[in-house]
């Protein structure tokens, strides 16, 4: 009897063990969802093949010449020159003489053949609105030479960009442009600060709304496809510098002039006391532009350049942060306020008021636009390479009335795109590396992520 019971007991135990060990094993596993690792790893290789499809429309101003032949030959030569890296050109002939709407990615080349300037050579002018015009003394029938010069012009416009892209996709070498440029964000807080160091002796106020409308609003509108700006302004008082400027006995009457040398400037901002606000809630990065009015005891205050001369602009830029412009106050006598105090007349000195109108602010605003372009990473589109290929030609550039030409805007958009692609690919790859290195980390279901 006991041996039968023994066999039964042992077999039941063994069956239980055999049944429940797999249950225990499966319930204590670390659940990791499946991630598209291979696809993400392949993204990095695919990145190198990003190409911008650029369209060029060729038009002969005088109506003579063969636009179609020129366009075909130009397209072949341009694509040979760039070798399919970064840019692919589609050139067409534009027969109509009416102005077409300027759109991003479509550039117009106007050729004026058989025209000489004073020196007997041609000229190239870069217009603001995505148009480049080439005036060449070569005859209109000479298609080959015209194409050669056109390749130099159009190719030269985009060669700088290709070098930029190669630099970004390559090793992460940091040059000064990268240090200066703020990281891309779709929204920025733009804060204009007026710093009054000595309100006891001078009350400063500014008509900043009008100044922004007059000078800055056009720039903000021009780049609205790329960035969204929230513009604010504030005035701060009693903002004394943490450094002492040097006193120099310059000036015609031997008057005392205060100056800041370049090595003082890194300590200009009193980070312990001056709080540059911006919203602490919003995650948009802030860009600050400061108009600093020095106190009476330290005015006029100038910034000295490296060549020991005073800067005309009296401003400097802090990379990734913003810009500062020093505006010297005029010497004003204190006003006198008389008021009744019971039965006696009380006379006291009141600090004079100085209001900066919109036209007074035109210089600082122009400086801020220049600094804003630097911080956003707007690069001038120039014809440096072309100048070497077409010696003797005259080169003119039209500057923009809003602060950024359409050429520069397009270049900025392309650069931003390439950088963002690179960042996204890097982030994804680094996440995968991280996840693969931590094997006992639970990865929840990714369905809600993959579907979005």
């Amino acid at each position: 009897m006991s041996s039968l019971i023994r066999i039964q007991t042992v077999s039941i135990l063994l069956i239980l063990v055999a049944l429940f060990v797999p249950v225990w094993w499966s319930t204590t596993q670390v659940h990791r969802a499946v991630l598209p690792t291979d696809q993400i790893r392949a993204l990095a290789a695919a990145e190198a093949k990003n190409v911008f499809h650029t369209r060029v429309a060729v038009r002969f101003v005088s109506g003579k010449g063969q636009p179609k032949a020129v366009a075909e030959s130009l397209q072949t030569h341009l694509n040979n020159l760039f070798g399919g890296a970064s840019f692919h050109f589609a050139v067409r002939a534009d027969a109509s003489t009416e102005e077409t709407q300027s759109t991003s990615g479509l550039y117009q080349l106007r050729i004026d053949c058989g025209v000489k300037n004073i020196q007997g050579e041609g000229s190239v002018k870069l217009f603001e609105d995505r148009v480049v015009s080439l005036q060449t003394p070569v005859e209109c029938a000479d298609t080959e030479s015209i194409v050669a010069q056109a390749v130099a012009v159009v190719g030269g416009l985009f060669l700088d960009e290709r070098a930029d892209f190669a630099r970004i996709s390559g090793s992460s070498s940091h040059n000064n442009d990268d240090i200066r440029k703020v990281k891309f964000a779709p929204e920025y807080q733009l804060i204009f600060n007026l710093m009054n160091a000595d309100p006891v002796n001078l009350l400063v106020s500014w008509d900043i709304q009008a100044a922004i409308k007059d000078y800055f609003q056009n720039f903000v509108d021009a780049v609205e496809k790329l960035y969204d700006f929230k513009i604010k302004s504030q005035t701060k008082y009693f903002t004394s510098l943490p450094i002492d400027p040097e006193v120099i006995n310059a000036g015609k009457d031997g008057e005392m002039v205060y100056c800041l040398r370049p090595h003082h400037l890194p300590h200009f901002i009193n980070s312990a006391e001056w709080s540059f606000g911006g919203s602490v809630v919003s995650t948009a990065p802030p860009l600050n532009f400061v108009v600093y009015v020095p106190p009476h005891a330290q005015s006029p205050l100038y910034i000295m350049g490296h060549d020991h001369g005073f800067l005309k602009t009296n401003s400097f830029l802090i990379p990734q942060w913003g810009g500062i412009s020093i505006v010297n106050p005029p010497k004003m006598a204190p006003a006198v306020a008389i008021h009744e105090n019971g039965t006696t007349l009380a006379i006291r000195n009141v600090p004079p008021k100085w209001t900066l109108s919109s036209s007074d602010l035109s210089d600082p605003m122009h400086i801020f636009i220049y600094q804003m372009r630097e911080i956003l990473g707007v690069k001038t589109v120039g014809l440096g390479s072309t100048e070497q290929l077409l010696p003797g030609f005259q080169f003119n550039y039209e500057s923009s009335s809003v602060g950024i030409t359409k050429w520069e805007l397009d270049r900025l958009a392309r650069l931003t795109t390439i950088q963002n692609i690179r960042n996204a690919v890097n982030t994804l790859n680094s996440l995968i590396t991280l996840i693969e290195s931590m094997e006992d980390m639970i990865l929840g279901s990714t369905e809600h992520l993959l579907s979005s």
Partner: protein, 399 residues
């Protein structure tokens, strides 16, 4: 005559290219005016600030006090002393994340309300009127600390509570509180382990959230907390080694508690003498440690810091670097004028670290150490043997 011949040759070549006129030379990597190259030339000539520049462009500080309750006044004072130091040396509030687990300034037991002092003479009020505490009271948790370090916040978290560093940021992380072997106690309720800190820093490295980290820790057995870090460019300093306790410095009789810890006090004695442009190195700072005064042996970990502590300035971590650039022109938008893209000489000032020295940029990438999952105590072989044991017992028992 030789020079004349050479000149004739050069001019002849120049005119020959002029005459070549329309021939296309396909020049592959022609660049336009390279302002960066101009600036680089300028800087490498003049920038010799310190041998082995750190390559950082901004500074951040994460200052954490993990202890709650009135008798841990000294931990709050430690943290606030560091806060004051980094602010004085130039890091703005927007770049400081200050986490205080308790509010001792407004504690009803505080004899001097709204003040925090770090010495019995009460010379300096650390609390002041210009203080920004980002995480206070019960918000100081292990989860929030790790979220701050790794940057993985929920959407609603405001900007002031985020560590918005990039790969050129130097970060100072200072932690103080009660700790033990490989753990640090948060709020008397939970602990952070040394592996958690090491993994968080590894995540920061993968996401390129720091250039260099200086990890300071003032607790008992503090050196055990930085033992597990395995990411590069991390320098760590601790108040005591494993197995040793850290001690407080002195009491204030009217406040009724200790007001500062010994190791932090020793650091502050040196740091208070520094100004913003100071050139003292971290090696100098470490040399000032005196074990007989601190009553414990400070630990320093330099194996993950290839630059070397003799090259690292104190202000690389405690001060706020700010490069500036003179603006030489303005952009007139009102008139359309002929503007040639002038070759503006870009001039940087301040201590711009040697970003141009390409040799230093190729920092060796360390392979991430793969952490093997801990083998469970109870696993298949164990269970089978246990089952066999049970059956054996049953068999033997029923005999």
């Amino acid at each position: 005559m030789n020079f004349l011949n050479w000149l004739v040759l050069v001019l002849g070549a120049a005119s020959a290219t002029n005459a070549a006129g329309g021939a296309i030379r396909v020049v592959e990597d022609m660049r336009g005016l390279d302002r960066a190259a101009l600036a680089a030339d300028f800087l490498s000539a003049g920038a010799g600030s310190s041998g082995g520049g750190s390559g950082h462009t901004n500074n951040w500080a994460v200052l954490v006090c993990t202890s709650r309750f009135w008798f841990n006044y000294r931990h709050i004072a430690n943290t606030l002393s560091m806060y004051r130091t980094v602010k004085r040396l130039g890091i703005p509030d927007s770049n400081i994340i200050l986490m205080l687990a308790d509010d001792v300034a407004c504690n009803p037991r505080n004899h001097f309300p709204a003040t925090v002092y770090n010495n019995a003479g009460r010379y300096l009020d650390l609390y002041g009127s210009n203080i920004e505490v980002d995480y206070r009271g019960y918000e100081v948790t292990v989860e929030n600390f790790i979220r701050v370090l790794t940057g993985r916040h929920e959407e609603h978290v405001p900007r002031s509570k985020r560590l918005l560093t990039d790969d050129r940021s130097n970060i100072l992380i200072f932690m103080t509180g009660h700790g033990g072997k490989e753990f640090l106690k948060f709020q008397d309720a939970e602990e952070i382990g040394s592996h958690d800190i090491a993994d968080a820093i590894a995540q920061m490295f993968e996401k390129k959230r720091y250039n260099e980290i200086f990890f300071m820790i003032d607790t008992c057995q503090a050196a055990s907390l930085y033992k597990q870090i395995y990411s590069p460019n991390v320098l760590a300093a601790a108040s005591s080694l494993t197995g040793q306790s850290s001690y407080s410095h002195h009491h204030d009789m009217e406040i009724g508690t200790a007001v500062i810890d010994r190791w932090t006090y020793s650091n502050l004695e040196t740091l208070e003498k520094l100004e913003r442009q100071d050139k003292n190195t971290l090696a100098n700072l470490f040399k000032t440690y005196d074990s007989s005064v601190i009553l414990s042996d400070p630990g320093i970990r330099t194996d993950l810091f290839p630059r070397g502590i003799e090259n690292a300035l104190v202000t690389d971590f405690f001060g706020g670097v700010q490069t500036t650039e003179l603006t030489l022109e303005m952009y007139k938008t009102s008139e359309k004028q002929k503007v040639l893209p002038a070759d503006v000489k870009v001039e940087f000032d301040g201590r711009l670290s040697s970003a141009q020295k390409d040799t230093l940029l190729e920092k060796p990438r360390y392979k991430l150490k793969v952490v093997l999952p801990q083998t469970y105590l109870i696993n298949v072989p164990f269970v089978l043997c246990f089952g066999l044991l049970l059956t054996g017992v049953v068999v033997a028992g029923s005999v």
